[in-house]
Amino acid sequence: MRNGLVHKIGVNAALAIASFVSVFPFFWLMVGATNTSAEILRGKTSVGGALSNNFQHLTEQVSLLTLFYNSSKISIIATVLTLIVASLAGYGFEIFKTRWSERVFAALLAMLSIPFAALMIPLFVTMAEVHLINTHAAVILPSIASIFVIFYFRQASKSFPGELRDAARVDGLKEWQIFLHVYVPVMRSTYAAATIIVFMANWNNYLWPLIVLQTNETKTVTLAVASLLTAYTPDYGVVMVATTLATLPTLIIFFALQRQFVQGLLGSVK
């Protein structure tokens, strides 16, 4: 019994340390936003009085309104389009299986491992040719047909009851009506989970926007944070405020919809 107690205390201590390490940076972020750059670099962990100053410096350097508008616009449009295109495809691959569609699907899965680095140069050149550099379309278009999300919807479609489709066919619905009036409402929670994952991925996207968005008018929040950070002498107080603002939307979504978020992550492997 004593052995069990020691074991229990050990496990709890280990988990407590892991939790502390995981959460501390968030604390650091919030506190950092209230300190000056020098204080941050000295490791000050108490709340300071520089918040309004930092915020003011930030607004002098960037237009928060523009940044948030750009990030929201890109994330929302990309998420909506991704969900439409990927759920149609996931449904199509699962419901209308043929030998050929299965081959195409297998090929897609193999392409899941193609690194973005291998695509970015030709994509950039192509975007330049069609004059889409510095437009949000250049960010959104390549992200829509996400193989990962297609795969996610296909896995989820396996749980869509075949008899429901049969019933709808007997009731006289056309295929697109079955999709719109039966599949979509029945799979609501799948869409909810996918929405969160896709939205966050778009909101946090960095490399590709960095390449195609080069003007201040088109930049996203994430890009702005990165450029503040990689400046020659970054003002960490300002960077912390910006990072807090950039992370807040995802944090709120996470706490409001934690269950769907986790479900979304797991959906593709189940």
Binding site: P161, E163, A167, A168, R169, V170, G172, Q177
Partner: protein, 360 residues
Amino acid sequence: MTNLRLNNVRKSFGSLEVVKGVSLVISSKEFVVFVGPSGCGKSTLLRMIAGLEDITSGDLEIGGRRMNDVDPSKRGIAMVFQSYALYPHLTVRENMGFALRFAGVSKDEINRQVDDAAKTLGLGPLMNRLPKELSGGQRQRVAIGRAIVRKPDVFLFDEPLSNLDAELRVHMRIELGRLHKSLATTAIYVTHDQVEAMTLADKIVVLRDGLVAQVGSPLQVYDDPDNTFVAGFIGSPKINFLKGVVESSRKGKLAISLPGYPGVKISILPTETHVATGERIVVGLRPQHFSPTGTIKFNLTAELVEHLGGESFVYGGNGAGELITVAMQDGRNIKSGDKFEIGFDPARVLLFTEAGSRIR
């Protein structure tokens, strides 16, 4: 009046043929049950009638029209599914009116027809609930209601009671039978449960490996099976099959001995089929047809006894031959190990060739 006709209908999935040429005529207002073990093709056949599966070859006619390539919703059928297949996001009312909504029927008309059907089934108080708020039996009733609203020429049922518990199943079975009488519509019902088949059907179609094994009324199929498969599938407990040898065959009169039961001699009056002396045959004895007064006497030792209260099933043998199941109305005093004598009426003996077809 013929309502539905299948003519040499076949279905293949790739190189696998699951329905191997079924021809069938179903009359108007008839309650037809497709019964058979799993994998016999009964569900596939039903789905082909519904239009949910393509017909590989052969013809399907409903109401005199060839329906092979007609959309499911335009065949004049309605279907009740095993899982009920209620739309989970719609209320009972919306579920029942869904088909009409997509057929472009006006809202008032939909409401009127849905209310009519709801009245028939006593669904009134449930109309605004979602399927997940209903019990199994209620869901079943909504599924039937959804089918009724469409006023079909033919109702199709795909094992509709198999998801219910035993008590509710009996209840719904009786209700379905009543409903069929009041609606007076053709119904095709698929089940693997022989009790459902026997109790509901006007006509039973026994299927085996994609072929019709026998068609007939419930009692025909029970009393007069065409082959060992039908005899074995219908009737519970299962019919006893004993090995037999024809001792003499003169003018259709047979004398049969049972190698497993040396003392037993069976004489059968003239049969239509010619059977040669010395031929091996199969003797079928239904457990319920044993009686003390029967003239074919068996001396058995009870190996296992199941008392069900009303009747008792005794599994007896002689140590050498096949174990024989005997159903007894007054067997409550028999214990395992007891020796007993029981008789069988020769008129109720069913004879089959070794290959399984009936000797009449």
